[in-house]
């Protein structure tokens, strides 16, 4: 169960990061490739995150495929891990990237506060639902064991 959660969590993080890049950067054009207020440390962290995201996407799916093949992949635990990973990334992006490192903002030329709040609430909800699923599978497993 533990590797199910972790493998799906890795996929969740990577998928959320990819969605962020594709939808907000490319499709909507809200985020910018580079905005002038970016700090050098921001560039570094962004590069690292971006590279890790791509590798995590492939690695996560390979891991998932391996677990499936050996029939040890738990579906509910997997969804729990996936949602938790996705939400954690959303929160990380919302707080660390947007606010602390000021890499880029959610949107430009509008009142940011509401966007920021919505962004982080969405992330928080994902984590909450994900953790609930994981917790339920865990307690279920424990109640069966003894």
């Amino acid at each position: 169960m533990r590797s199910s959660v972790l493998a799906a969590g890795v996929i969740g993080i990577a998928v959320m990061a990819a969605v962020d890049e594709i939808v907000f950067h490319q499709v909507l054009g809200w985020h910018h490739f580079y905005d002038r207020s970016t700090l050098t440390i921001g560039l570094l962290s962004d590069g690292l995150l971006h590279a890790a995201e791509l590798v995590a996407l492939v690695g996560g799916f390979a891991w998932y495929a391996d677990l499936r093949r050996r029939r040890v992949m738990g579906t509910v635990a997997g969804w729990g891990g996936f949602l938790t990973g996705a939400g954690l990334f959303q929160l990380f992006d919302g707080f660390v990237d947007h606010k602390i490192l000021r890499l880029h903002q959610v949107r430009y030329g509008v009142n940011l506060l509401i966007y920021d709040v919505l962004w982080n609430i969405a992330g928080g909800l994902l984590v909450l639902v994900g953790l609930t699923l994981v917790w339920r599978v865990r307690s279920h497993a424990h109640s069966r064991e003894p």
């Binding site: 590797s3 890795v10 962004d46 690292l48 492939v58």
Partner: protein
């Protein structure tokens, strides 16, 4: 300032007068030699490997013919060539597993020499992902953030050696990350994954640095206008992504097949994120009773 020659001029003339079609002939020879070797292999050489090698040769040919120029100029051209020479072509060539093919068709004496070479200490050091990463991505910083780039644009010999360097370093790095060829004492999948992430990050950061400095130092160093530098930087960023994705695919697909082949999985485990030891056991235990096919003696280099 390093604006000595107009970029158009360099783009058109850097390839043709120096070497003519010689590099193209060389690429053609590489392809033909491989095909001949593949036909000579008695144990039926994999078609996929052959296809990979030919794709590599094609990207080399495209990169070489770009030198003859069609108006794309300066730093954009250089970046396209960097991507082709240093990243796309090596991936195809490495996945073609030329060393395995050579080992298969050569007489025992040559084989012994080759395996001694493969076991040699300097090669291990050189082909360690960290060293290979420094040599390939690391030297990019040296080239693009110093006057070396504009010097190469004005110097035939330096220009060509830069391309050769891209190819050699790219091959080395690709080989160290996901090469199907035999590599004794190759570092674990975890080490290779880390190296891939770090190299990818360094590549992306350099691209953004170029973008950020396009107006000032970037234009000064390349002798190109800021818009061209920005285009080149974006090309580098997104091109780098595509290749990183392909490298990761090659690495993990190999890992996936490798696990199915191990009766007692012990060697490579790919976990992009850190985990605890107990999970290892949890992962390994079902592996022994795995329904997956077990091939004790699959020929080398057939895992894609």
């Amino acid at each position: 300032m390093h604006t000595l020659v107009s970029p158009d001029h360099v783009g058109r003339e850097s390839g043709s007068p120096g070497l003519g079609v010689f590099p193209l002939v060389l690429v053609g020879l590489l392809a033909v030699a491989y095909l001949v070797a593949a036909v000579h292999d008695k144990r039926r050489w994999s078609h996929r490997r052959t296809a990979a090698w030919l794709v590599g040769c094609c990207s080399l040919a495209v990169a070489v013919s770009l030198m003859f120029g069609d108006g794309t100029s300066g730093v954009r051209l250089h970046m396209t060539q960097h991507l082709l020479f240093g990243m796309v072509a090596p991936l195809g060539l490495v996945l073609g597993a030329p060393v395995t093919l050579l080992l298969r068709i050569s007489p025992p004496r040559v084989r012994r020499t080759m395996s001694r070479l493969l076991r040699s200490r300097p090669l291990h050091v050189l082909s360690h992902p960290a060293v290979a990463g420094l040599l390939s991505t690391g030297t990019l910083y040296l080239i693009l953030l110093t006057p070396l780039y504009s010097a190469a644009e004005n110097h035939q010999l330096l220009h060509h050696s830069l391309h050769l360097h891209y190819l050699a370093a790219g091959y080395l790095f690709t080989w160290s990350i996901c090469g199907p060829d035999p590599a004794p004492r190759r570092p674990s999948v975890r080490v290779r994954t880390t190296a891939l992430i770090l190299a990818g990050a360094a590549h992306a950061v350099l691209a953004k640095l170029m973008y950020a400095q396009a107006d000032g130092r970037g234009a000064e160093l390349t002798g190109d206008d800021a818009a061209a530098v920005r285009t080149a930087a974006k090309l580098m960023y997104y091109g780098g992504d595509v290749v990183e994705l392909l490298l990761a695919l090659a690495l993990f697909v190999t890992w996936y097949h490798h696990r199915s082949r191990l009766a007692v999985p012990a060697v490579g485990k790919a976990r992009p994120r850190a985990g605890s030891r107990s999970k290892d056991r949890e992962q390994r235990r079902p592996g022994r009773t795995s329904p997956a096919p077990y091939h004790p003696r699959r020929p080398l280099g057939d895992d894609h």
